[in-house]
Symmetry: C3
Subunit: 344 residues, 3 copies
C-alpha cells in the first residue's frame, strides 16, 4: 500500500463530506488538504487555534427518526462528525427544524453555562428557533499553581438534552447524536473514519438486519469513534483487530502500560476512539464487529468491516440479502453518507 | 482566587467535620492544619505513618435507613469520609447500635482475615456489640525478589457485609457505606470533598427529587469520591468538567496516556476519585452531574454542582422547589453534613 | 517462603496438567522447566518464537455441558488454559465430537479470516469433523512508517462462535470457552494460575453452591485469568488483595499511573489478568472472591481463595458442607483439574 493511495482515500473522505452536505461554509476547513505524509511517517494533526463557523439543523427524517445535519435536508443518524484540534473554537449556528424543543449538548470540551444545551439552563431551542452554541478547546499546560492541566483531546460526542425528557431521552432515542474528535497537535490522523453508536439495541439507529458495514482496503488506517447511548450496557468487539485502551487508542511506545483489548464494556454516553490498520497481520476479510452481549448480537447488533485486498476482492465473502436489503433502505448509512467536518 | 481563600475553605471543611461529630478523639488528626500551601503550588499530602484511633457506630436512622457515624446520634448516609496517607494505620472501635448483626468490611487496604467483616470469618458484630477493626496501609516499594509492590493509595470505600444477606445486601441498601481515601505522599489535596454514591437507583440513598447538590466557588479544587453500590450499572457524568481515568483522577504530565473522560461506566463496589477545578475554563453555573443511563437520570439520579462566582452569584440559576423541598428533609445531606476524618 | 518451594509448585502445576491430559505431544512445551529463578528475582517469560501443535476436542459432558479439552474424554469447563509468548504460533487440530456444528474463535491474537471460527466465514466444524486453526502472535515493534505497533501480549480467551446461534450463544452457555495468555518476553511468571469465568449467573458453569475455591500458600504468586461471558455485566472483587488495572495486572514502577483496584466492572467477552502475592500484607485466610452485584453474590457467585500458612493451616476457616458437597461433584474443577498448555 502506497502513501499515495492513503492520501487519496483521505481526500476522498473529506471531499465526499463536503459534496454530500454541499455546505460551502465548511469547505475552507474540510477541503483543506491534510498535510502530505512524509515518506517516512503518517499524517499528523497540525497545530490548533482555528475558529470554525458551522451551521447545524435538527430535523425529522421520514422514518420516526430525528437527525442532526450541517444543512436542511441533509440530516443523518449519527449526525456529522466534527473533527478539530486542541486550541480550536467552534461556533455552531443551530436551527431547530423539528416541532419540539431541541438542543445541542456536548461532552468533553469547554463551554459556558449558557451553552449547556439543557432546559434548566435555558439553553435549548424552540421549534423554528435558532441559537449559536460555542465550544472551546484547550491544549494541556501548566496552571498558575504549577499543576498540570489536561488538554481537551479526546473522542467525545454531542447530543440533544431536551427532547422527550429533561435528559433528552426521546431525542437520543430518535437519533439526535453525533461524534466529536478533538486531537492533539501531532496525533496520528486516520485514512478513514467510522462512527459507531450502540443506541439501545441498535447500531446507528438501524434495525438489526441493516446494521452498517464499513468498507476499507488492507493497510488503511481506520479510526472508529465508538459511542454508546440509551438504556443498556454493551461490549464492543472487533474480530481480528485490537486497540489500546487509552486516549488515542494507540500505544505511543513500549512505556505505555495500557491494556491492549478487542472487547470493551461501555455504557450510555461513554465514548472512546481507536485506530487500527485494516487487516494488519491478518489480511483481507469480512471481519465482524458486534456487541458481545449474547442476546444483543443475536438480535442484530453486528456488522462487518469489509476489508478488501488491493484488487478489491474479499476472500470468502459473499454479500447476502441482508446487505442488499440495506442498500434499499432510505436511511442506510455508512461513514460515506455522513457529513464530516475535519478541521485540520 | 487567592491561596488564602482555598486554605480557608479547607480548614472550614475539616473544622466543620469535627464540629459536626464532636468527636474530640479525632481532633488531633482532623484539626491538624494542612501544610500551608506555598505561594507556588497546591497543598500536598504529607508523609504517612500516623496511627489513627477512631470510633464508629452503625445505627438506624428514622427513615428506614441505617448509617455509620463517628458517634452515636451522628450517623449519616454515606458514612463519614476517612482520608489518610499511605503508611497510616486506622483502628476503628466499632459499636453496633442496630438490632441486627452488622460489620465493617473495607476495600483496598490491608487487614488480616479477623478484620474481614464477614460472617464466614466471624468478624461481624452482634446487636449492642463492639469490635475493633484494624486497617493498615503501605507505601509502594520493592519486594525482596526485586519486583515492584504497589502502594495502598486509592479511592476506596467501606461497607457492611452481613445485614440482610452474607454479602450485606440489606445493609448496603439501607445506607451502610462510606468513602475511604488513601493518598500517596505528595498527592495534591483538594479544597472540598464530595462523596457521591450511586446505590441502586438513588444517589446517597436520597429519593430522586432530593438528589444532593454540592456547592463550590469558581477555582475551588473539588474532589469527588464516586462509589457505586447495589444491583445496577450506571454511568457517572458531569457537565462542563472532566477528569483523568487513572489513580488520582489527575494527569501528572504529558507522558500520562490515561484517557480524559467526563462519563464513566461503573458497577457495584467500583470506586474512583477525581479532582476538578470548579468552573475552570467554563465559569460559574449550575452544572449537572447525573447517571447517563437515560431511565436513571429521568427518574431522578441527577444533582447539581452549584459553582458560584466569587461574589456568590450563579449565572442563570434559580433555585426551585426541588431544592427547597430537600432543605426540609431530615436526611438531606451534602458534604458539609457528613463527618470527615482527614488524617493529614 | 523459599524459591525452592515456588519452583516446586510450578513444576507440580505443569506436571499435573500433563498427567491429567496425558497428551504427550504437549510434554515438550509443558514439561520444559521454567527458567530457574535467580536468587534475586522471579521467573520471567523467555523469548517467543516457538511453534506449538496442539489437539483440541469439543465434547459433551454428562451434565448438560459441552467442554473443550486437549483430548477425548478430558474436556473441562473452562477449557484448558493456553499460555504462550509473543512470537509463538499455535496450530490447533480441532475435532468436533459433539452432534452439532462447533468452532474455535479466539480473541486478541492474529489469524486470517479462514480461522475466524464463524459460520459466515465457513470456519466452523461439523459434527465429527476436524479442522486446524492457526493463531499467530507478534512482538511490539515499529511499522515501516515509523509508528509503534502494539504486541499480542494480553489475557485473552477462546470460545465457540456457532453452537445455538451464529454468535455461539448456546456453546458459550454450555461451557465452550477457555483462557489464553500471551506474555511478553520478560513478563513475570506466576506460581499458580486460576481461570475464573463469570458466565451468565455462574462461575465456571458451576451452580452457586459449588462455586470453585482455589488453594494456595502465603507467598505464592497467583495469576487469575478473569473472563466474562453470556448476558450480564458483573463486578469482580477479591477480599484482601488488589491489582493494577493495566496490561499485566502489575505495576512496573512508580511511573505507572494505572489505578490499583480490587473490584472491576466487566461484561461479556471482556478479559483481564492479575497477579497477586497470596496473603501479602494480610496473611493466610479464607479470602472471598465474588461478583459484587448484590443479587449475583447472594445467589452464589462467590468462592474462596484458601490461602494457607506454610504449615497448611488456614486461620478461622472451617470447611463446611458446601465445600464437601463440591468434592462429590463430577464436574467440580479448580485450576488443578484443568489442562494447561504452558508454552514457555
Amino acid at each position: 500500500m502506497s502513501m499515495d493511495r492513503r492520501s487519496f482515500n483521505r481526500r476522498l473522505v473529506a471531499g465526499g463530506a463536503v459534496a454530500a452536505t454541499g455546505v460551502t461554509s465548511l469547505s475552507v476547513a474540510s477541503a483543506a488538504p491534510a498535510p502530505m505524509a512524509a515518506a517516512e511517517g503518517p499524517k499528523r494533526a497540525p497545530a490548533g487555534g482555528k475558529v470554525h463557523h458551522l451551521t447545524m439543523v435538527a430535523e425529522r427524517l421520514g422514518t420516526g427518526k430525528i437527525g442532526y445535519g450541517f444543512e436542511k435536508g441533509k440530516a443523518t443518524v449519527p449526525g456529522p462528525l466534527i473533527d478539530i484540534v486542541e486550541g480550536d473554537t467552534v461556533h455552531i449556528e443551530f436551527t431547530n427544524l423539528t416541532d419540539v424543543d431541541a438542543s445541542l449538548h456536548v461532552h468533553g470540551v469547554d463551554y459556558d453555562i449558557a451553552n449547556d444545551g439543557t432546559r434548566m439552563n435555558k439553553s435549548h431551542v424552540p421549534p423554528g428557533g435558532k441559537r449559536t452554541y460555542t465550544w472551546r478547546t484547550h491544549k494541556p499546560g501548566k496552571r498558575a499553581d504549577g499543576t498540570y492541566r489536561e488538554g481537551s483531546a479526546g473522542y467525545w460526542h454531542y447530543h440533544d438534552h431536551v427532547v422527550g425528557t429533561d435528559h433528552g431521552t426521546g431525542g437520543i432515542r430518535q437519533g439526535l447524536y453525533g461524534g466529536l474528535v478533538v486531537r492533539r497537535e501531532g496525533d496520528i490522523l486516520p485514512d478513514k473514519q467510522f462512527t459507531i453508536v450502540f443506541n439501545d439495541m441498535q447500531i446507528n439507529n438501524l434495525p438489526g438486519a441493516q446494521s452498517p458495514n464499513f468498507e476499507a482496503t488492507v493497510g488503511d488506517r481506520l479510526e472508529v469513534i465508538m459511542i454508546t447511548h440509551g438504556e443498556f450496557y454493551h461490549t464492543f468487539h472487533i474480530h481480528g483487530h485490537r486497540w489500546a485502551d487509552n486516549r488515542t487508542g494507540l500505544l505511543g511506545g513500549p512505556g505505555d502500560t495500557s491494556r491492549i483489548i478487542d472487547n470493551k464494556i461501555t455504557g450510555p454516553a461513554d465514548s472512546f476512539g481507536l485506530q487500527i490498520i485494516a487487516g494488519e497481520g491478518v489480511g483481507a476479510g469480512a471481519w465482524m464487529y458486534h456487541c458481545h452481549v449474547q442476546s444483543h448480537s443475536d438480535n442484530g447488533m453486528a456488522g462487518l468491516f469489509l476489508i478488501a485486498k488491493p484488487d478489491g476482492t474479499i476472500p470468502g465473502y459473499e454479500p447476502h440479502h441482508k446487505t442488499a436489503a440495506k442498500k434499499d433502505g432510505k436511511d442506510a448509512q455508512g461513514a460515506s453518507a455522513q457529513g464530516t467536518h475535519t478541521g485540520h
